[in-house]
């Protein structure tokens, strides 16, 4: 029997997210449109005057509650994109300094994936193959119906910031896990034409040659390595180290263990919980163990397909699936298409 895992995690009732960071940006948009604070805070047991003090933190269920209220009150699909456009560099103390002083895309993505406070609610993974960089977003804490909204906002936030730094629209390619929404035109206007849906994963793709290109200095504060280093030291002190959202924590355990496939009981054990408690908590976060496991296998397979060029037979072997045919079937169940199709669709360019 293995020892319990060595990571700390928080659940959807943990007060993690500073209200004056990301949530404030969303609330500002609503206030600007004349939507009163008691309406969008309804059901959160929060008061706007308290939020202004800058010391209140939200748990994820409050954050999602505000998002659901906002969707209903604003009633236009542009809201998430607007929120995204204004998100970065933001007013997030030293963290915003880091964003402002990052010298290139590599540094920027390092910052964003290291300090989860910059992308609350989602987790961010960066990986590369021979010529493409993949920026992958996952549910960190169980967002339920708010998931697509949050994805829209962060994907817009990230690309809008980088476009601004480079003073041009980069040739991004987007792949979203959910099916094509009715408001597809918002995607085309805010992100570009290169968008795909029902892909099983949420990815931004870009040619690797952009990673090391220095950001031109216009549009940015005088950037210097010194300023970046100072801000980084400050963030290191403040950063609550390594704490992950509950869903993100489980996903990371499942991914790290691969190709071994952990059962529900084994995973619960790693988290020091009884299987019943573990199951109940998962449900409480809007997930099931089966879905998380499928998601993990899909992501591992995709990673190996893209980076190592593994074929169905090798992947079946890797994942302990009887043969290539069964792997194909399983893969199709995870994301709705065959490995060959997704390989084709993920070709960048």
């Amino acid at each position: 029997m293995k020892q319990p895992i060595n990571i700390s995690w928080y659940e959807n009732d943990a007060r993690i997210y500073p209200a004056h960071f990301h949530a404030a940006g969303l609330m500002d948009i609503l206030l600007e449109r004349g939507i009163e604070s008691d309406r969008f805070l309804k059901g959160t047991r929060l008061f706007y005057d308290d939020l202004l003090k800058g010391s209140i933190r939200l748990d994820s269920s409050q954050f999602c509650h505000i998002i659901e209220n906002a969707k209903r009150l604003y009633a236009l699909p542009e809201l998430s994109f607007r929120w995204g456009h204004g998100m970065f560099p933001g007013h997030f103390d030293a963290y915003s300094q880091l964003i402002c002083h990052a010298g290139n895309l590599k540094q920027l993505t390092d910052v964003l994936s290291r300090y989860s406070i910059l992308t609350p609610l989602l987790s961010l993974k960066i990986w590369e193959d021979a010529d493409t960089v993949y920026i992958q977003w996952n549910d960190a804490i169980g967002l339920g119906t708010s998931y697509a909204f949050v994805i829209e906002a962060y994907v817009t936030a990230f690309t809008s910031l980088v476009n601004w730094y480079f003073s041009e629209k980069l040739p991004w390619k987007f792949s979203f896990s959910f099916s094509e929404p009715k408001h597809i035109e918002e995607y085309k206007v805010n992100l570009g034409d290169n968008v795909q849906f029902s892909m099983g994963v949420d990815l931004i793709m870009l040619n690797k040659s952009w990673l090391e290109k220095p950001f031109p200095s216009i549009n940015r504060n005088l950037s210097s390595n010194a300023a970046f280093t100072v801000a980084k030291r400050q963030c290191e002190n403040e950063n609550e180290k390594g704490s992950l959202g509950f869903i993100e924590a489980i996903a990371s355990v499942l991914n790290n263990e691969s190709p071994n496939i952990l059962s529900l009981n084994e995973t619960a054990d790693r988290f020091g919980m009884s299987p019943a408690t573990f199951k109940r908590k998962l449900k409480n976060h809007g997930w099931s163990f089966q879905r998380l496991q499928d998601q993990s296998k899909l992501e591992v397979s995709l990673y190996l397909i893209q980076t190592k060029g593994l074929g169905n037979t090798e992947l079946a072997e890797y994942l302990n699936i009887t043969d290539a045919n069964n792997f194909r079937k399983a893969f199709k169940r995870w994301c709705g298409m065959t490995p060959a199709t997704i390989r084709e669709k993920l070709v960048y360019g």
């Binding site: 948009i29 600007e32 449109r33 236009l76 542009e78 994109f81 607007r82 456009h85 204004g86 809008s160 476009n163 601004w164 003073s167 408001h183 035109e185 918002e186 085309k188 206007v189 805010n190 034409d193 549009n219």
Partner: protein, 301 residues
């Protein structure tokens, strides 16, 4: 929702005063009926009518600016309300037979009310015709308040689709054109001067575009800083000329920032789609492709 009511405070107070006055006069001059004399069917019928008319007045005052038509409508309904009110009071209070005014009150104020309301409705009709004229380039004979963009008060994409399909169906053998345009570096403007200024610019831009269109053209908000213009029965040459005019109009537009008063010039990119009997999605797709290729601004040959 009823923020307009503030402007009609005086009318409201006057009406309430009149109702109270009628009530007091009845009390003074008449005597209360016994419980068994009261006909509750009449009470519900007449009292309910009075209540409904009171509600109508509230809706009309709450949705209209001050002016002649509003005065006429509320005055007409006011008289009718008074008549029903007196009717309802009659059910509770007996006025001695020699009091001529009780009957008169009802039978005079009702026709006066109806006359004023009719006259008011006629003027409202006239007013609506002139408003429709003003709104024509926004809604083209079809009103659906749910499909309207809150910022620019233009139709949104669903409305755009339905209108393109309507033109294609009405005139299947004519050329129609669709322009889709966006603002150059609009997100930079938002970052530099706040989204509030960005929104103000989009609003102003929509007004400016409208002024440069013909009476049958239709302007819609596509998404973000992208607008769409339907040019019904228009060939590609005319569409090109129109888009050149729009481009010139926008690039010469001296937008003033709210905060600093500074002038800001912006350019637009325009994509053109044209053809016969195409579906809305085909038009939109073609125009978007043309828009993406047209940056920086150029005209389709």
């Amino acid at each position: 929702m009823f923020s307009l009511l503030v402007h009609h405070k005086n009318k409201g107070l006057f009406l309430i005063g009149l109702l109270v006055f009628a009530f007091a006069t009845n009390l003074m001059l008449g005597e209360a009926k016994a419980w068994q004399e009261i006909d509750w069917v009449d009470v519900v019928g007449e009292g309910g009518s009075a209540f409904a008319i009171g509600l109508w007045i509230l809706f009309i005052l709450g949705s209209r600016p001050q002016g002649r038509v509003t005065n006429l409508l509320s005055l007409g309904l006011g008289f009718m309300l008074l008549a029903f009110w007196q009717d309802a009071l009659d059910e509770f209070i007996r006025i001695p037979a020699e009091q001529w005014w009780d009957q008169g009150f009802e039978s005079i104020s009702m026709p006066i009310g109806i006359m004023l309301l009719t006259y008011g409705l006629y003027h409202w009709h006239q007013e609506q015709i002139s408003i429709n004229d003003q709104l024509r380039k926004r809604e083209q004979y079809f009103r659906e308040h749910l499909a309207v963009d809150k910022l620019t008060h233009l139709g949104r994409i669903d409305f755009l689709r339905s209108q393109i399909n309507r033109f294609s169906k009405l005139f299947p053998f004519n050329d129609h054109a669709l322009l889709i345009l966006d603002v150059e570096n609009f997100s930079d403007m938002n970052r530099k001067y706040s989204t509030r200024e960005g929104d103000r610019f989009l609003h102003a831009l929509s007004e400016l575009l409208m002024l440069n269109l013909r009476k049958d053209d239709l302007l819609c908000r596509y998404a973000g800083d992208r607008f769409a213009i339907v040019l019904p029965n228009t060939n590609v040459e005319t569409a090109n000329i129109l888009s050149k005019e729009l481009y010139t109009a926008v690039s010469n537009f001296a937008f003033k920032l709210e905060k600093s008063g500074e002038t800001l010039y912006q350019n637009i990119n325009i994509g053109i789609a044209h053809g016969q009997g195409l579906s809305a999605d085909q038009f939109i797709e073609q125009a978007n492709t043309s828009l993406n290729q047209s940056k920086p601004f150029s005209i389709v040959a």
